[in-house]
Amino acid sequence: MSASETIKDVREHPFLREFPEDVVDRLVQLATIREYEAGARLCREGDLADRFFLILDGGVAVELHAPHAGKRRIQTLGAGDAVGWSWIVPPYRWQFDVITTQRSRVAEFDAGQLRELCDREHTVGYLVCRRLLEVLARRLAGTRLQLLDLYA
C-alpha cells in the first residue's frame, strides 16, 4: 500500500469524518501508521497512556486481568473505531489492556503532541473532544445494554 493510500485511509477514518480540511491536515501530520501482528499489546493497564489509536484495518480486544479468573475480554473493536481516551484524561494511565486480535493496521498519535495541539488550537481540541464524546456515549450506551443482561 502506497503512502498516499495510507494517508487517504487516515483522512477517511470515521473519527475525522466531517472535520474541516485544515483540522484533518493538522491531525494527519501527527499520525504514524503502524502494523501489528495478532496478539500485539497496544496498551497495558497502569502504563502511561502515551498514544491514541485509530484502527484502519484489523481489530483489537479490550481486556482486563482478574486474579484467579485470568484475562477477561470486555469489548472488541475493529476498523473504523478509535482506541483509548486515557491519553486526554489525567492521570493519563491506561485503564485496560488492549491486544490486537488479528493482523492490524493503525494510525497512532503521540499523546503529548496531540494534547499540545488541542490545548494550543481550541477548535481542533473542541472537535477532537466532541468526537471522543460521541465515541464514549456510544460505548456507554452499549455497556448499559450489556448490563441489562437482555438475553437472560
Partner: protein, 300 residues
C-alpha cells in the same frame, strides 16, 4: 416476562408491502389443537432445546416468522416461533424453546414419540420474497435467532437474487449461542457476512464482545436498497432500528418482530394488544413505519 410471551420472538400474519392476511388454522375450531408426535429433540444450550414434530395432515404450511401454539395436556399452551423452513422439510416442523415456566418445561421434557398439541401457524411473516434485488441485513439477539432461522435458510436459497447478505447475532455468552453447528456451516458460505458477538466473553472466546449493534459498522450494505429483519429483546431492537435508520435504511424496509402476552393467537382475546394492533393477528412481524408510533410508548 410471562411464559405466554416467551419464545414467540416473531410469528405472524403476512406483510408483503401493506397486505395483511391471516393464515388458516389447523382445525375447524381455531382454538382446538391437533395432536402430533415429537420426532427429534436436540439440546441447544443449558436452557434451550429444539423440538421437531411431525407435520399434521391438516397443517397448512408456514412461512418464516410465523408461530404455532403448542399444547401439553394438563399443563397448558404457549406460543412458540417456528424455527424451520418448509424448504428444509415439509414433513416436520422445528420449534426452539427456552425453559422458563411450567409449559415450556413440559415441552422441553418431551422425547421422541411423545405427543404434543399444535394449532397454527399464526401471524405475519418475514417478507423474504420481497428481499430479491435488495441488500439484506438480519439482526438477531438471543432466542430471536429462532424465528429468523427459517428466513436465513430461505434467503440463502435466494442468494443469487440478493445483493449483500448479512446476519448479525448477539448472545449473552458463548455458551448461549444457538445452532452452533449451523453457524459454523454458514461461516463457510461465500458472500454471506456472518458476525457473532457476546455480551460477556469467556476465557476461550476469541470472537467479538459487545452489543449486537456494534457489529453494524463492520458489514457492507447500501442503506437505500437494504431490507432489514430484526428480532430479539425489544430494547435491543430499538437500538438496532435506530442504528439502521441513522445510516439511511428506510423505515418501511425495516421489519421487527414483537412479542407480548399471547393467549388466543387469533386476534380475539386482546391480551397481546399493542395500541390498535394485535401482535398475534397483525404481527408479530411489522414494518417499522407501521409499528413506530407504539414502539416507544411506555406501558403498552
Amino acid at each position: 416476562m410471562t411464559e405466554a410471551s416467551v419464545n414467540l420472538n416473531n410469528g405472524g400474519s403476512m406483510h408483503e408491502g401493506t397486505e395483511t392476511v391471516l393464515e388458516p388454522t389447523t382445525t375447524a375450531h381455531p382454538l382446538t389443537p391437533v395432536f402430533t408426535r415429537v420426532v427429534r429433540v436436540r439440546r441447544e444450550t443449558k436452557d434451550t432445546w429444539t423440538i421437531w414434530i411431525e407435520r399434521p395432515d391438516v397443517y397448512p404450511g408456514h412461512r418464516p416468522g410465523q408461530f404455532n401454539m403448542l399444547y401439553v395436556p394438563g399443563v397448558g399452551e404457549v406460543p412458540i416461533s417456528i424455527a424451520s423452513s418448509q424448504r428444509e422439510s415439509a414433513a416436520r416442523i422445528a420449534h426452539t424453546i427456552r425453559r422458563v415456566g411450567p409449559v415450556t418445561s413440559a415441552l422441553v421434557a418431551l422425547r421422541k414419540g411423545d405427543y404434543v398439541g399444535i394449532r397454527g401457524p399464526y401471524g405475519s411473516h418475514w417478507p423474504v420474497g420481497s428481499a430479491a434485488g435488495h441488500d439484506v441485513v438480519v439482526i438477531a439477539g438471543g432466542l430471536g435467532l429462532a424465528p429468523l432461522r427459517p428466513a436465513v435458510v430461505e434467503l440463502l436459497k435466494l442468494r443469487r437474487k440478493l445483493g449483500a447478505l448479512a446476519l448479525l447475532y448477539g448472545a449473552r455468552t458463548p455458551e448461549d449461542l444457538l445452532y452452533q453447528r449451523e453457524l459454523a456451516k454458514w461461516r463457510q458460505v461465500l458472500d454471506f457476512q456472518l458476525l457473532v458477538t457476546v455480551d460477556r466473553g469467556t476465557r476461550d472466546w476469541h470472537g467479538h464482545v459487545g452489543v449486537v449493534t456494534t457489529l453494524i459498522p463492520g458489514i457492507s450494505f447500501d442503506p437505500s436498497r437494504t431490507i432489514a429483519f430484526i428480532c430479539g429483546p425489544e430494547i435491543m431492537m430499538r437500538f438496532a432500528v435506530r442504528e439502521l435508520l441513522s445510516r439511511g435504511v428506510p423505515p418501511n424496509q425495516v421489519y421487527v418482530s414483537l412479542e407480548r402476552n399471547l393467549q388466543c393467537a387469533v386476534g380475539f382475546c386482546g391480551h397481546c394488544q399493542l395500541g390498535p394492533k394485535f401482535i398475534c393477528a397483525d404481527g408479530p412481524v411489522f414494518p417499522y413505519d407501521v409499528i413506530e408510533p407504539y414502539f416507544l410508548v411506555k406501558q403498552l
